[in-house]
Subunit: 336 residues, 3 copies
């Protein structure tokens, strides 16, 4: 879609930056420092990329004042260049709008409520009792099962499944393959096998939540699974039944959180982290990637248990060495 041309002056005013350079330069896109042309705005946030600043051909660069002297082109000075850049990118690259209305190839049950400003795409299925808010977008092949609710301005991109009775707040962004409200994993052992424990709780997703592709959030066993406002979940995350995730917490891809665990606010959970069930993580806990969390953690704090890769030959020596030491220790009877 054609992006509008905008002057640097207009961007500076709109996003509260100090402009150092020609205010009449026009830009229409964002780019990386290396990829930018005179029509694009780049940014410097990760210092790893500072070496690309001197040679950039960008129309302007968003950066902190301390780097302005190194910038060969106009600078938009911001205390938080990444956030300012994000807002400029959203302005210059607006999402294509979805036309309101129900596509002829969508299947909306007469007992569902769909706001007139909402957009329902081809192949979407909305069951009886479901409710779709104002300006919400339900993409192709999404399924909103009975009595599920989607808040205003939320978007289910494509192939998202909301199981019965699930609640999603306003301004949510749910990527393809997300499943919310499947049964939690609950079985009672008996001599002849497992007895299924009915999963009769729901899922409550707050406002401004983003959920990545193929992430799954199970419904509660009895009470609800809860994702608070502003939480951001990456792809392929598994959230068990009755988990609660506090506001503004972020979780990176492939992590799994077992049932009934409560995670605080503003936590940062790395990728491929496994968190056992029935634990409590305090506010502002940071867990690095590939860590096993098997006990409750108080916050704030940073926690790890991932072993960094080594050459396999060396790694095997580590494994053998620890076994040797453990055995030796046992033989010496220190355990006694």
């Amino acid at each position: 879609m054609p992006a509008p041309m905008t002057t640097l002056a207009a961007l500076a005013v709109r996003f509260g930056c100090e402009l150092r350079g020609d205010p009449d330069i026009e830009v229409d896109s964002v780019a990386t420092l290396q990829g930018a042309t005179g029509c694009s705005v780049a940014f410097l946030a990760n210092l790893k990329y500072r070496r690309h600043l001197a040679a950039t051909a960008a129309g302007a660069v968003v950066l902190q004042a301390r780097f302005a002297a190194e910038c060969p082109v106009p600078a938009l000075i911001s205390a938080n260049p990444y956030a300012t850049f994000a807002r400029i990118a959203a302005e210059l690259h607006p999402q294509p709008a979805s036309a309101p209305g129900v596509h002829a190839a969508a299947h909306v049950d007469p007992g569902a409520h769909v706001a007139t400003s909402a957009s329902i795409a081809a192949g979407a299925v909305i069951e009886a009792g479901a409710s779709i808010g104002e300006r919400a977008v339900i993409g192709p092949s999404c399924v909103v099962m009975r009595d599920a609710r989607v808040g205003d301005d939320s978007r289910l991109v494509a192939g998202v499944t909301l199981c019965r009775g699930v609640h999603v707040g306003a301004r949510a962004l749910l990527h393809p393959g997300v499943v919310i409200g499947a049964d939690g994993f609950g079985f009672a052992p008996e001599p002849e096998g497992w007895v299924k424990v009915p999963q009769i709780g729901g899922v409550c997703i707050g406002d401004d939540v983003e959920i990545g592709a193929n992430t799954t959030i199970d419904r509660g066993a009895i009470e609800n699974t809860v994702i608070e406002d502003g939480v951001k979940l990456d792809n392929q995350i598994q959230i068990g039944h009755n988990v609660r995730i506090g506001a503004h917490t972020v979780v990176a891809g492939c992590s799994g959180i077992s049932g009934s665990t409560v995670i605080g606010r503003r936590c940062i959970i790395g990728g491929m982290v496994g968190i056992a069930g029935h634990l409590t993580l305090g506010d502002d806990v940071h867990v690095t990637g590939l860590t096993l969390v098997s006990r409750s953690l108080s916050g704030p704090g940073v926690y790890s248990s991932g072993w960094p890769a080594e050459e396999t030959r060396r790694w095997r020596r580590n494994v053998a060495q620890l076994r040797r030491l453990s055995k030796q220790h046992d033989d010496e009877g220190d355990d006694a």
Copy 2:
């Protein structure tokens, strides 16, 4: 859906409990010890929650005889309170029934066989040669590809894909996003790249199997991948080609089982466990979360290799210390 009111006397008789308390009390739902009102049945199984027993307002609590004295309300005595509670919950909270028949917005190939008591939802696709059993429910956006078979009383909740020729037994419950029968990962190396090994085996799923959201089970390379009766798989599990999982084994979320591995009966595999290919795990093997299984394991037995999280500062010392000891050991020539 309105739950029926039931007396404690009726529950005691139906589920074989001894009732201590007023048999005429009526209940209509289940709840947690803390959340229960006088109309609900709660339970005590995990001792972590025993502290909530004394203050519960439940209409009745399902528990073992040894805790009856602590129970301030009527007690339904059971040797296995969790299983008894599960059965009571299923009785008080029945699944909404799906109307038999093919929805006008479903696409059933004329060459498919669908039992008249089965229910096919909007957006479902049933290809030629497929067969859907009595009272089976195929939810919205499910795809049953050619020659696949779904047994009696099985339910594909929504967005489930059964690839061609896959067999699912009776009373299966397949949650959204499940994919059964995608090609196994088989490629033969040649100097110019990889040659695909056709995956011509199938998948056989027994009776009473539950499979969680976005779990994938690959078809066999030549012979079948087999999931035996009563197996319960959590969400986001990956099962490679020609794996066999023995009856009544349970696997927690995010685990992966590589090709041709055989797992015994009644095993319990924790979350985010990785099991290498071509191994054998005996009956009654228990593997704790985040463990790497790289050799065959005999059962019964409990196996682990997950490192519990520590403060990152301390964790780094562990990593450094082991490297130091390995290096020292090498320098001392003990390996020789």
Copy 3:
């Protein structure tokens, strides 16, 4: 589907094998050494299965010359038996063809381009501006969003989602649940929460790429995520934004690659491997399963950090022993 009968002579000629045995024997299928009948071709590649050779009833066995003397039935001699077997299997077990044309229950936007030789199944959705190449197959419930492109002879099996503008090359095979082009995970922190960084890059998938069930590949933040020719990805893999994977690299199931990491050509990444962001892995790097890659790795080389399972009782001693040694080392002040 009925497989054609073929003589061993014809197979030997077509696939360049030396035949030792009766050239007129007819075969119609492939099988394992143990499962083969006189009408099937088996193979010996993994030496683990050599013990089954002497008793095989196969019509012929594909194997290396050095094992021919042990073979009780006709032998098709090949330097690379697994690759030769793969080609014979493809010949004897051809994929059922999909009829060209758009199914009446598919939804193709008038503004999309679909080659006349392409096949679009029931329930598929093709949005405006999308382009489907010659002989491409778009299976049931697949979604090809606006401006996405699918190359000639590619196949989206079922329930695959290509987000807007994504490019997939020729002869791709995308299994059910694959999601290509969801937003990368990019948020800028601000005191009041996270600001979304628009993800305006695309995804470029080369030719001859296979992608397993429920694998997700995010679109680039600014520039593209790139998967080069001949890459093979297993199931449930997560590829972050702006990752580049070099030609002919293979990745096993459940692995995750974080944003902006560049992986070389011909790498072999094991299962459940986590690779941090902004790293570079050279050509011919091999990473074994359950390894955490937290720094760049030069190739060629083999790297690991997965701990093999032990009996839990022993494992706990390892954990305790390392903690003890670290603490002791600290107390001795060796860190100073």
